[in-house]
Symmetry: D3
């Protein structure tokens, strides 16, 4: 299976926040943004592996600033690292100033997808080749996040999480 | 501000998976479940603090088993710990066997909400009193998860994350 | 077929009134509440009989007070009586005061469901055992409502509707 | 206030049953039909009184035959009788045979609406003049249904429900 | 195949503009109106040919006046001309003044549909008989519009578009 | 007002066809695609003028091939020409082969938007500078389309539509 660059998995989504998408404060409803991110990230994961993919985990999403009604929101998703049959996807979300057109980064999220066959069994996926500085950084840190997930799920002992341990125990 | 029990924040949601909610495999679409969890968790957080709450983060969601079309899904949310103005909420998701009625646990998620005033500024929230064994365990581990978030956000140095360090460095 | 208690059929739904759910006055749109009630009541009927159920009738719904945008609405459904292959379900709707958390009863509705097989033919359902005072009262009055339906549908002559006649003709 | 004919309040709605509207059997979902009926009936009530109207009650809906996916559904609503500030509306639902084009009656429903001002207080509505045979019959029976509602709501004693009593006690 | 009158294909749709349907100005969102027109026009085309129909083209829609939130909108669709396997449908849209009830024409659109079999291959459709003055005018001009489409699609040379040429070149 | 390039107005949207979006044949429902195109085109028009924009017309959309359930659809919109206060926008739609990833062009549409102030009055918009060969071609033909619209709306006499006449009357 031929390895692929991160760039090849890029998926872009542009949305306008309509009344239908707002919470009781008149801002973009968190649950709606989670759904938009799930769709664009699943397209990115699909583009990497050309298989049916299903959401395996939402590893981290933070909502920093409220996104007002009528905002133009751009979501950009790219695979950050591929494991045996799973892919970690980063989603960056920008809001566009309606007058200057300037795009302000307002959210960052990490989702994990698994490639499956028609019976729902996992399928191998191609490796990912990071190219830009940011892609490389995300590729590196993906391993730490994976160890953390495995610890939290009780599938890895903290003492074996070498990448993660290094954060806490300075190597002499 | 009077502390409250976890039980007082319980919010329950029962849903049927309709065609509208399914992905291309005919199972519950991940993005839809994320949205359902956001709503039920925000009701739970609101019940704890009686303020307008907004989603601050999705800390961890894992999708273990596909949930088929026509399934009956029960979501149960309870605040697991309150910090100055934020609340961590656990959401447990069960699917009901259509014949035996047995409920099978199929997802677990952790969301964080912040209480805000009409200008969007954070407001203090009551403390949480865990009562059952599970509530106490989730209350304890909430601190570790919070330290982890702060490290990931660059707001806490790993060496000061005492709770988390203990996982990796055995105390003699 | 083993009879079941009303309690076993309880289904609970909690919703927030989002902009999407409001009418031109900014209150919860009647048609949306009817749809929410249909879903929660069908889950209750399903829990009683463990069969596919379809809505047979909406017998009575009254909308007393408008439910404002951003309200938290709790719907609770329980089977009130089972007939050969149909089940009458009561749905109680409460709105929660956003500050005190007090729940105010605002709607009451009665729906009827029929259990069906894959060809759409009716299937027998278990009997219902009422336990609380309210459950017993609703169980009793279900018979009068059924006679009334049959009269309205032209399937029962008023003079044979013994339960209902008693309301109008004082027994000496 | 000038009385109006039933015909002037006619509202017509034609819909196609899309996947989004179906239940787990692939037929039109009861809750969706209830919502469609609510919209078309509210338009009819509005046309009668030219005021904002809100749903006051769903008096009777029966679902006789399942309506299959892809069906063309026609809903027709007309005010059947006006009281001080409320209007009873009949909704007739037809399904169209996709080959012959023949319309088959499949549902009949009765909703009640109230005309309100901007504070939600009831407003008087014009009287209704029935013209056709069916309109006259529905106009007559509306009084019996209203007495029944009042009895069920505990606002009228059965012995004072003269119209309804007549059904059960033969006048000599 | 027996020719049919335009009247036989009439399809009517009445809608209320709910918050869900509005754009950032609080008026009916253009995309939503396009969707409503597509549904009502497809019903009209189906009524003409009694076959499954799919949208082939949107030839012309103009949005003249904004349609405010809470407006009552009536859409009326009728086949204007049938070709071998396609049908041109005119949709007229009216908004109703909420006080006087007067209907004001606010949009006019032309869609084209094709009748297809289960493999998606085109099927012949009956001819259309225009009766009223307006129906005849729309029937006549349909040919010019069709030539124009064919030219724009590069399937007809301008010099062979006799109907259309006549507009520009006065016949002596 | 500074003229802008076509490239600056580019808006991209990627969607997956979910069950909710399909017609009775299981393919993407025409009305849904019209709505997606309206949103992405309005974002493009907004990016050109930085004003609130509303849909003024849908000039031409053709649906060539059915788009199957589960397809990945990419919509790309760019302003093709700006007039005093209106902008013509081209939308190109591609479907992605799920295995090869190859994008196949399947639709092309032309929408017109108008920039408005808070009272709904038209506002001037910047001129458009076409750069690529395709952008130049679309810029040129926009004038012909505009003359055609004006003739169809009865606002321009065919003999004054110089650009359009040239198509039919060969210049000697």
């Amino acid at each position: 299976m031929k390895a692929k660059t991160a760039k090849e998995s890029l998926a872009v989504q542009t949305q306008v926040v309509l009344p239908n998408d707002t919470n009781v404060m008149g801002n973009l409803f968190g649950g709606m943004l989670l759904q938009w991110m799930d769709i664009v990230a699943s397209i990115s994961a699909h583009r990497h592996c050309k298989r049916v993919v299903v959401t395996a985990a939402v590893n981290n999403v933070s909502f920093n600033n409220p996104i007002a009604h009528a905002s133009i929101v751009t979501l950009q998703a790219k695979v950050s690292r591929a494991f045996t049959s799973s892919m970690e996807v980063f989603i960056d979300v920008w809001v566009e100033d309606r007058v200057s057109g300037e795009k302000i980064k307002c959210n960052e999220a990490i989702y994990t997808f698994v490639a499956i066959d028609q019976n729902g069994s996992p399928l191998p996926v191609p490796e990912l080749i990071p190219e830009t500085e940011e892609e490389k950084q995300r590729f590196e840190s993906a391993l730490r996040r994976r160890q953390l997930s495995l610890i939290l799920a009780g599938k890895l002992k903290p003492e074996n999480a070498t990448e993660l341990r290094a954060l806490f125990i300075p190597t002499k």
